[in-house]
């Protein structure tokens, strides 16, 4: 574990990512301290460019873009992490059962997974939110529903490989139960792969969320980066910064998570070392 930590720290892009991510987390944490009150509140003249009265300018209604960006960080992180957590639990369960038991269970679960991978997942997410409504819980649910298949496939592959490893066969021939084999012997050996994939899934979830809210499918009570871009679109020609600012926030957050994910991958799976 110490080796893995050292490998991560030596990975420069991962450190950059980690610093960026910590900054986003801090932004989310201090949003209500820096900007008490509703981020939807009108605070000044509309269409003010950045670095005037307001550090990031105001939008077409005169709302403070900086406040929106800080509050948006909360929404983004909340939805990204919550949706990924649910999708990971579902994916690991389905993939694990399919990979460990094989046979008919595997065939059935994998057909289900393939089905969900065939569906244009963004369109499916739109449909779910359109049908269910756009509260934050339902958005999280919709994103989780469309995100679990890659995790299930990965975990299934890992479990199948582990199932045939001799140390697992040794467990079986000792008379160990399935639950103990899965939890004590297989899961810890697949954890690094799950962590890496999970971290990259957070990035994807954030991109889906921003896309949904760009199309107007965000929780109307919660500030979100995609929502600002979507509403600023109509004034793109005159006030391009309204769209540009939250976009940069999304880009940096997603990039930070991807970089951390890559760093974790190199740190936890030291396959391609310098030989």
């Amino acid at each position: 574990m110490r080796d893995a930590f050292l490998r991560f720290v030596r990975h420069k892009p991962a450190l950059v990512g980690l610093v960026l991510l910590v900054m986003v987390v801090i932004a989310a944490a201090v949003a209500s301290l820096l900007y008490p009150g509703d981020p939807f509140r009108i605070v000044g003249k509309p269409f003010q460019p950045p670095l005037t009265d307001f550090p990031l300018g105001t939008d077409m209604l005169g709302r403070d873009l900086a406040a929106a960006v800080f509050y948006g960080a909360r929404t983004t992180l909340l939805i990204g992490f919550a949706a990924t957590l649910i999708a990971t639990v579902v994916g690991v369960t389905i993939g694990g059962l399919a990979g460990y038991f094989g046979g008919r269970a595997d065939a059935l679960l994998m057909r289900l997974t393939e089905l969900f991978q065939t569906i244009p997942f963004f369109l499916f997410a739109i449909l779910l939110v359109a049908v269910l409504g756009s509260s934050i819980g339902k958005i999280i649910f919709a994103i989780a529903v469309v995100s679990w298949p890659p995790m299930a496939r990965l975990v299934r592959g890992e479990f199948m490989a582990m199932r045939n490893r001799e140390f697992v066969q040794a467990c079986v021939s000792m008379g160990m139960g399935h639950a103990r084999i899965i939890v004590v012997h297989i899961l810890p050996n697949t954890l690094s792969a799950i962590v890496v994939t999970g971290s990259l899934m957070i990035a994807t979830a954030i991109l889906i969320e921003s896309g949904l809210s760009f199309l107007g499918l965000s929780d109307p009570n919660v500030m979100s980066w995609g929502y600002i871009i979507g509403s600023g679109r109509s004034v793109l020609r005159t006030a391009w910064w309204i769209c540009a600012v939250p976009g940069v926030a999304i880009l940096l957050t997603v990039m930070a998570i991807n970089l951390v994910g890559d760093g974790l991958n190199d740190a936890l799976n030291p396959r391609l070392r310098q030989l």
Binding site: F122, L123, L127, G211, L215, L236, W240
Partner: protein
């Protein structure tokens, strides 16, 4: 070459997928507020009461659930996707009229992303840890983190608003009525920005994948064999490594077709490209859920077809596939 039996088998495998989508659509209809007839007619009450009554009857809303499902299945199988009151025409006709632009956009994006991605990825791998690799890797990290719609907006600001090189929206110049080659040129001109916008993200994905894949293949025994034959490094890459390294990229491209379609919804919305994606956005905005479900169904069928085409390409690249 893939055999006819293989093609038929893959087609047969697609049938349960399509059926499952129909069932999923049906379930979504059940989940929506109001009964199916309300949903199918659109919420604003633009349908006549007679039509509503007829709808309820044709769906057998008084019948048990499984019978409703069967009726729905029958309708979809005969390609009867209902009527859109917003557009005043049958959903299937509406979708067909919007299919062409989407296919053009997706085809362009898929081709560009795979080819340029493979090119950049192998370039980065060949110049591992040198400036070419660092540049390509940095750009792909950026492109991979950029929300598609935002990239589109920023390209509009730069290339349309500031530089005026490309049109901001649509597929053809309004009221220009170009014919022949001029028309092709005009469409191509309009296609550039949406295609580039959507390509960037997938290009980045494939380039990263290709780079890793080339590096992995380069450590294989057959590469040593090739060197032992007296091949130059360039020949080793071109003749032996590339084809093997492309396999995971092609697999990924197949898996991603659905995702690219999702991206098309956003890009078509940004650029007002008159395809299925824009239609989906419009129906979302007009709360025309039935139209949205129809688009969902057709696009899934589309993905199944493209998946099949990608699998055929794969089986031509990898002779081992016949064993599976």
């Amino acid at each position: 070459m893939p055999s006819l039996a293989y093609v038929l088998r893959r087609l047969a495998q697609a049938v349960p997928t399509v059926l499952a989508i129909v069932v999923l659509n049906f379930l979504l209809l059940q989940l929506a507020p109001g009964d199916a007839a309300d949903v199918l007619a659109g919420e604003a009450g633009s349908a006549t009461p007679e039509y509503m009554a007829q709808l309820r009857k044709s769906f057998g809303l008084d019948q048990p659930m499984w019978l409703q499902l069967l009726l729905y299945l029958k309708q979809v199988v005969t390609f009867d996707l209902g009527f859109s009151f917003r557009h005043g025409m049958p959903v299937s006709e509406l979708i067909l009229s919007r299919l062409g632009p989407t296919l053009l956009l997706m085809g362009t994006v898929l081709t560009l992303a795979v080819f340029v991605g493979v090119l950049l990825g192998s370039l980065a791998a060949r110049h591992l840890n040198r400036w070419q690799d660092n540049l390509i890797s940095t750009l792909t990290v950026l492109a991979y983190a950029t929300p598609v719609f935002w990239a589109g907006l920023m390209l509009i600001v730069l290339f349309s608003v500031k530089l005026g090189w490309f049109p901001t929206s649509g597929m053809q110049k309004v009221a220009a009525f170009h014919e022949g080659f001029a028309k092709v040129k005009d469409i191509a001109h309009h296609l550039v920005l949406p295609a580039v916008t959507l390509t960037l993200f997938y290009l980045a994905l494939y380039a990263r994948l290709m780079r890793a894949s080339v590096l992995e293949q380069a450590s294989m025994d057959y590469v040593v064999t090739a060197r032992a034959k007296g091949l130059t490094e360039r020949q080793v890459i071109r003749r032996h490594v590339l084809r093997n390294a492309m396999l995971p990229v092609v697999t990924m491209a197949g898996v991603q077709v659905g995702a690219i379609f999702g991206g098309a919804v956003v890009v078509e919305t940004v650029f007002a490209w008159p395809g299925l994606g824009l239609l989906a956005y419009e129906s979302l905005f007009a709360r025309d859920l039935n139209l949205l479900l129809g688009i969902f169904f057709v696009s899934t069928c589309l993905v199944v077809m493209v998946n099949l085409a990608v699998d055929l390409c794969y089986s031509m690249l990898d002779p081992r596939i016949e064993l599976r």
